[in-house]
């Protein structure tokens, strides 16, 4: 793949910058001892060449606008275009974060109202928009746990329980927040093992992190029993909101026993994923955890919006300013447009599409957990024949023109294929995807080399990950 460094560059581009209009005095010169001596070897592309290069790169990418992107737990739904336009209005995009509140009444009102709406969606009391991504929300939420027990003098509560189906960010966030983790097994029905949970609950446990529905795509049918048991043990319940698309508009985490819940605005509320961010991971919390939320907070008084800093119990800040405001604007526009009925359409069609696809595929792949799924489901690529793996299935899907599902996650399903179609896919697309998956299952038995050689139609053939791990090349030599 050619980088911009291989393109014809020129270092004498004129007209890029304004002519200097102030006198420059030699006594203002940067002292010699600070001046850059190391050469700066950055080539410049003239704008036409630059546009050709990045347009060419973009065509090597596959996004939601190109086709089905059934990446489980990532909710790759269509991103409405109007939201991008509104977020880039100059009154928002040209506003400095240190602006006085009087200059920022519109954006503060928007962020405040978004917080109110998110609180209602979660069925919880207060919202903080600072976290820049889901994992950042997890970390921020667990800091509230930490401060809550610290203020209660309950300093020996240092453990976080995690179902073994949890997203990898959950244990990593728990560690970052200074907790140790304890794994709770999943039953053969794909539910949290409640007796194992009960025996793990003691006064060293600060809380549990749950994903609802779980990463098998199954609703925890005994969720109230779980959260009651955790609360009865004096611990708190964190809900990972990656899978909110399954029940938005129909049910609320606060009604399931959540004390802290994070949203992924880039998933459920349709803001673009950007190739890996920027996202946004606001948290909603129960009232008694609100004193510990990060500062500053946005307060409303008689239609006037302010930043409030006075919060002696706050955990501090987890972002430079107010989080990813540009992303929050898009999510707000989406909520206004959808309204209550639209949000219900989201979960209705997300679950309909997932169950439909599951029904089309269950005779052709191992489905470890039968029955209703929510917005996603997990198949296993085991025993397809021909000695092929889930990775081969994923790569072969590219040849059929689809982005593969999430693979090898959750860890508790061997050779997992985690499929989340989202509500914005049509029956026709799902039918085509199912036909491709079924054809691949047949190929695995009859022509397994087709899978092992895949992809053959992608911009590159299968890339050597081992080589990248053993001998990583992490930067261009730039003429060295």
């Amino acid at each position: 793949m050619n980088t911009m460094f291989e393109r014809p560059s020129r270092d004498d581009i004129r007209g890029l910058l304004p002519t200097i209009d102030v006198p420059s005095l030699p006594e203002d010169d940067l002292p010699e001892e600070l001046t850059r001596r190391q050469p700066l070897r950055l080539p410049a592309l003239a704008e036409p060449e630059l546009v050709r290069h990045y347009t060419a790169l973009s065509r090597l990418n596959y996004g939601v606008d190109n086709g089905l992107y059934p990446l489980g737990s990532c909710t790759m739904k269509y991103n409405p275009k109007i939201n991008d336009e509104l977020s880039s209005l100059s009154a928002f995009s040209s506003l400095h974060p240190n602006s006085c509140a009087a200059d920022a009444q519109g954006i503060l009102q928007l962020l405040h109202h978004l917080g109110v709406l998110l609180g209602r969606i979660a069925g919880l009391d207060e919202v903080c928009l600072q976290p820049a991504a889901g994992a950042h929300g997890e970390f921020t939420g667990l800091l509230l746990f930490k401060r809550y027990f610290e203020r209660r003098g309950d300093v020996h509560r240092t453990r976080i329980l995690l179902p073994d189906s949890a997203h990898g960010t959950n244990p990593a966030s728990a560690s970052l927040a200074g907790f140790t983790t304890v794994s709770v097994p999943t039953t053969s029905e794909g539910q949290v093992d409640i007796s194992a949970l009960r025996s793990a609950l003691d006064d060293s446990v600060a809380g549990i992190m749950l994903t609802v529905p779980n990463t098998l795509g199954l609703f925890e049918r005994r969720i109230l029993e779980i959260t009651d048991a955790v609360h009865a043990a004096g611990a708190l319940c964190y809900f990972d909101g990656a899978n909110l698309n399954a029940f938005i508009g129909r049910a609320r985490p606060g009604d399931m026993g959540a004390d802290v819940f994070h949203f992924n605005l880039h998933k459920t509320l349709a803001t673009p994923h950007g190739g890996g961010g920027p996202g946004s991971g606001p948290i909603a919390v129960r009232g008694d955890l609100a004193p510990y939320l990060p500062v500053p907070r946005i307060t409303a008084n008689d239609g006037e919006y302010r930043l409030a800093w006075d919060a002696p119990d706050s955990v501090g800040s987890t972002h430079s300013f107010f989080g990813n405001v540009g992303v929050a604007i898009k999510a707000y526009a989406y909520l206004l447009e959808l309204g209550d009925l639209g949000l219900r359409d989201v979960s209705d069609n997300a679950c309909l599409n997932a169950n439909y696809l599951q029904a089309l595929l269950k005779a052709h792949y191992i489905l470890p957990h039968l029955g209703l799924c929510k917005h996603e489901f997990v198949l296993s690529g085991r025993d397809l024949g021909g000695d092929v793996s889930t990775l081969d299935v994923a790569k072969r899907l590219m040849d059929y023109g689809f982005h593969p599902p999430t693979v090898y996650f959750p860890l508790i399903v061997p050779e997992a294929l985690m499929i989340e179609p989202t509500e914005t896919e049509s029956r026709d697309t799902l039918d085509r995807f199912a036909r491709a998956m079924i054809a691949i299952a047949r190929e695995a038995r009859e022509e397994p080399e087709r899978l092992r050689d895949a992809p053959t139609t992608a911009p590159v053939r299968r890339l050597d990950q081992t080589r990248a791990a053993r001998d990583p090349i992490l930067r261009h030599p730039l003429g060295e």
Partner: protein, 443 residues
């Protein structure tokens, strides 16, 4: 809902295939008790036109952008964002993709990330860089945690002239990780007081330009620290003019990438920069892209060193970061590709010259004093002989926006309050002169 493609007829046929009689049946696994507690938002829904109207009305409640001349800074600045940057990042093949877990159909994102890493290494004078963090503040906090893994010791030395809003994030992360922060005071010239450096630590954090806008001298700092790692927080635009921290012994370089083609957006999304030495690869947080080969022997790019990351290593990962700021990194890549070394130096020089013109005129014509004698880049700090609120309000009434008063006191006891002024290439001579004249009249 207009983003659903299926018709009611489709839905009926799909329900049939599933074996359900209604959509409600799909939710039979959620306990009745939970469904019964549900309360709607009370939002009616709206057409695109109505949403546009509602949000434009909110935008109109902000100050009109043309009515503000910004001298604000502290990591986020009013720089020009070339049109081509947004044009490239708006391409939906970039914008609507996710983390490139499947490299064969993500070569666009991965190639750009590799370019980004190469460019950031070059600017910072470092060997490796990751593919982005959320913002400069969280980059710095993660650098502190990384240093504490590499050099366990439990304390981090931090210059008092670190941006206070970064300091707050650093404190929050360090509280969680049980790492002590030890302040290193500032000399009266605005730079780090090296004589106050005392004893070993996991790392020393220095920012340059610092919260006062002052450029620190890093010469021989790294080599004087022994086993203590040197973490340098920087402004990437300044690195076109000043010797990069990597050439001066820095072990980790972090920064806020907003000056490289990102709008201010009321403080987010931003772009965390993170670069370090190659031997520390296994400890770096975040995504990192490597060149590799495909089965036909052609070059391509893929995520690398993933065994550090949360989805593999879980509670032992180097960070919990998953979604980062990939599209912002793409913006910075395009911005740097457009300017190249020469354009970037010229841009950096413009910022430098205009800030120095503003400082000189304020001293000579508005009778204010620079708070510090050390060199600065595109922002500097002045002393105000009175509480600054009245001055700030007066300036704002004339269309001039400054940062609120600095929350860090001058190292001299009983010194006057401090105001920081940032000047970018967007500020014209007329705007700077207007600032100077206004300060003169108001003081």
């Amino acid at each position: 809902m207009r983003f659903v493609v299926n018709t009611q007829a489709d839905q009926r046929r799909m329900l049939e295939a599933i074996g359900c009689s209604s959509i409600d049946d799909l939710f039979a696994d959620i306990p009745e008790e939970i469904l019964g507690r549900f309360r709607p938002l009370g939002l009616p829904g709206a057409s695109e036109l109505e949403v546009q109207r509602a949000i434009r009305a909110l935008a109109a409640r902000n100050a009109e952008p043309e009515s503000i001349v910004s001298f604000q800074g502290g990591g986020v600045y009013d720089h020009h964002v070339p049109s081509v940057v947004r044009s490239v990042t708006s391409r939906s093949e970039f914008a609507t993709a996710y983390t490139p877990y499947q490299p064969e159909i993500s070569q666009g994102t991965l190639t750009a990330m590799f370019e980004f890493q190469s460019m950031i290494c070059e600017l910072a004078g470092m060997e490796i860089a990751n593919a982005s963090m959320y913002d400069g503040a969280t980059s710095l906090a993660e650098a502190a945690l990384m240093a504490a893994r590499v050099r366990p010791g439990g304390r981090i030395l931090v210059s008092e002239a670190l941006f206070p809003h970064w300091r707050r994030v650093l404190e929050t992360y360090c509280w969680a990780a049980d790492i002590d922060i030890v302040d290193v005071p500032i000399s009266t010239d605005g730079g780090l007081d090296r004589s106050a450096l005392d004893g070993e630590a996991s790392a020393l954090i220095v920012q340059t330009p610092n919260a006062f806008g002052v450029l620190e001298s890093l010469a021989e700092l790294g080599s004087s620290l022994g086993d203590t790692l040197l973490i340098v927080a920087c402004n990437p635009l300044a690195l076109a003019l000043v010797e990069p921290p990597g050439a001066l012994g820095a072990d980790i370089v972090v920064g806020e990438g907003q000056p490289l083609g990102l709008p201010m957006s009321f403080g987010g999304p931003l772009l965390g920069l993170f670069a370090t030495r190659r031997e520390l690869l296994r400890q770096i947080p975040g995504r990192i892209v490597s060149r590799t080969l495909d089965t036909a022997g052609n070059a391509g790019f893929t995520l690398a060193a993933q065994t550090r990351e949360q989805h593999i290593r879980r509670e032992r990962a180097t960070s919990n970061i998953c979604t980062n700021a990939a599209l912002c990194a793409l913006a910075a890549t395009v911005f740097l590709a457009l300017h190249g070394a020469r354009g970037l130096k010229e841009l950096s020089e413009l910022n430098f010259r205009k800030a120095h013109y503003a400082a000189r005129r304020l001293v000579e014509d508005a009778d204010v004093e620079l708070a510090f004698s050390r060199p600065f880049f595109n922002e500097f700090t002045i002393r105000i002989p009175e509480a600054p609120e009245r001055l700030l309000e007066g300036l704002r009434a004339r269309g001039l926006a400054l940062d609120p008063p600095l929350a860090i006191p001058h190292p001299q006891a009983n010194a006057d309050p401090l105001l920081r002024i940032a000047v970018t290439e967007r500020r014209t001579k007329a705007e700077i002169d207007h600032l100077v004249d206004s300060v003169k009249e108001l003081l």
